[in-house]
């Protein structure tokens, strides 16, 4: 039969030499290897004190952005919900009243905006679909574990970026 690759080796079963049969040299060699590991750099990250560095393109917890004046960018167009393959995003749109211009950027805004983190697959399609650059997946935060299922439905209270109080001063 034609060999599939040229990597096959003929196995030969030869008698072990005395040094091999005596085990002890091999054991000493093994002990040397483990002792080398004793002084190697540790792979451990001490979690609460140190956090693991994530890649710049890592997709984590969503955020709804505000514009430079602090108004919400989202106009509740629903493109993110349409783009979402897991159907995790739902929203209800509302009309901006007079005097709310500092709160919402356009005339239409999201009254509720919910993402079900149990459904979300963090694909980033919402981010791509958004025409207003309102929704992003952050590269430094992840959706933390919870005990109750309804705690995984993130509303606007947990999604909208907090106002930057330090900058206005």
């Amino acid at each position: 039969m034609e060999p599939l690759s040229n990597r096959s080796k003929k196995v030969q079963k030869r008698e072990m030499t005395f040094a091999e049969r005596a085990y002890l040299p091999a054991i000493a060699q093994g002990l040397g290897i483990t002792l080398k590991h004793f002084f190697k750099k540790k792979a451990t990250i001490n979690y609460p004190e140190q956090t693991r560095e994530r890649s710049d393109i890592w997709r984590g917890l969503h955020v709804l952005k505000r514009d430079e004046n602090g108004a919400e960018r989202c106009t509740a167009c629903g493109l993110c919900a349409v783009a979402c393959p897991a159907e995790a995003i739902t929203m209800i749109a509302g009309e901006r009243k007079a005097g709310e211009e500092h709160l919402y950027r356009e005339e239409k805004y999201a009254v509720t905006y919910e993402i079900n983190m149990l459904r979300c697959i963090f694909c980033g399609m919402c981010e791509e679909a958004c025409p207003k650059a309102a929704i992003f997946l952050q590269d430094d935060k992840l959706a933390p574990a919870r005990y109750e299922r309804d705690e995984f439905i993130y509303g606007k209270d947990r999604l909208v970026e907090p106002l930057k109080t330090t900058e206005t001063k």
Binding site: I27, G30, L31, T34, H37, K42, A43, N46
Partner: protein, 351 residues
Amino acid sequence: MESVDLIYKGIFILVIFGITLLIATYSTYFERKIAAFIQDRVGPNRAGPFGLLQPLADAGKLFFKEEFIPAKANKALFIIGPGIAMLVATMSSAVIPFGDMLIVGGREIWLQAIDVNIGVLYVFGIVSLGVYGLMIGGWASNNKFSLLGAIRAASQNISYELAMGLSLIAVLMMTGSLSLREIAEQQQGFNWNIWYQPLGFIIFLVCAFAETNRTPFDLPESEAELIGGYHTEYGSMKLGMYLFAEYINIFVVSAVMSTLYFGAYNFPFMENLRSAISDPVLANNVVTMVGVAVMFAKIFAFIFFFMWVRWTLPRFRYDQLMKLGWQILIPLAILNMVLTGGAILLKDYLF
């Protein structure tokens, strides 16, 4: 014996008991730490500074676990088993000389709990009793896997005790004494037995691993085929006692090996140190204290070696274990005996 001596002996026994338990406790910590370092991890570092309170946390956990006795188990034996293992383990350090003699207020204080002229026999007798703990535990559990583990432990201990005893006889032939103190004294300075008995030491070392049920000879508890061996049914502190007894055994066997082969409390240039100090009492005390430190350094080195080997070697197969014991180690030990005897005769003939 004077009552002062009795009081001193009592204190010394308590101190030795305390040191034994302390070292065994911290062996569990160092075992985990060494395992972690060998596997490129950090190991316990949360409880206290560097995780030093980890043994206490482990003990606390074991005490609060459910105390479970199987319905069909032999209750009395089930409880006695770990007790025997623990009792026997703590008894054997009594005859080990941890140091030479201290002179305090004109009184000679020997740093050994009991100086009997059959010290080696005592250690061997006590250590071989340890298997009763495992055997009773395995039998009383009324579980076939536990029983198999116990039988393995018993047959392994008996097999390796033979080779161990035979390898030791060569040392006894050289020293002509069964007293551990005399054996220690004969290895004055750097005149250690390891230089004369390298083969005997290797046999003794291998047997020591098997006696303490440490990897690569930890077949009684091979979890893959016997779940947990003789302690399958044990939980809570009764399991803790078994594991703890193992660490005490490691300490004792390390001490015995240091005494028999590595010169006990003797260290090179001992006499130079003694003559460097003019006051003879002070000189004696300084040398003795350094000797105690050296003895413990040797013991710790052996304990480290035990752990180092554990995280390096895989477990033996049972038939390989028996083959190694009966077909290799025992003939080798006998050969070593014959060689030693020949050497002694030759020495007498030539000089």
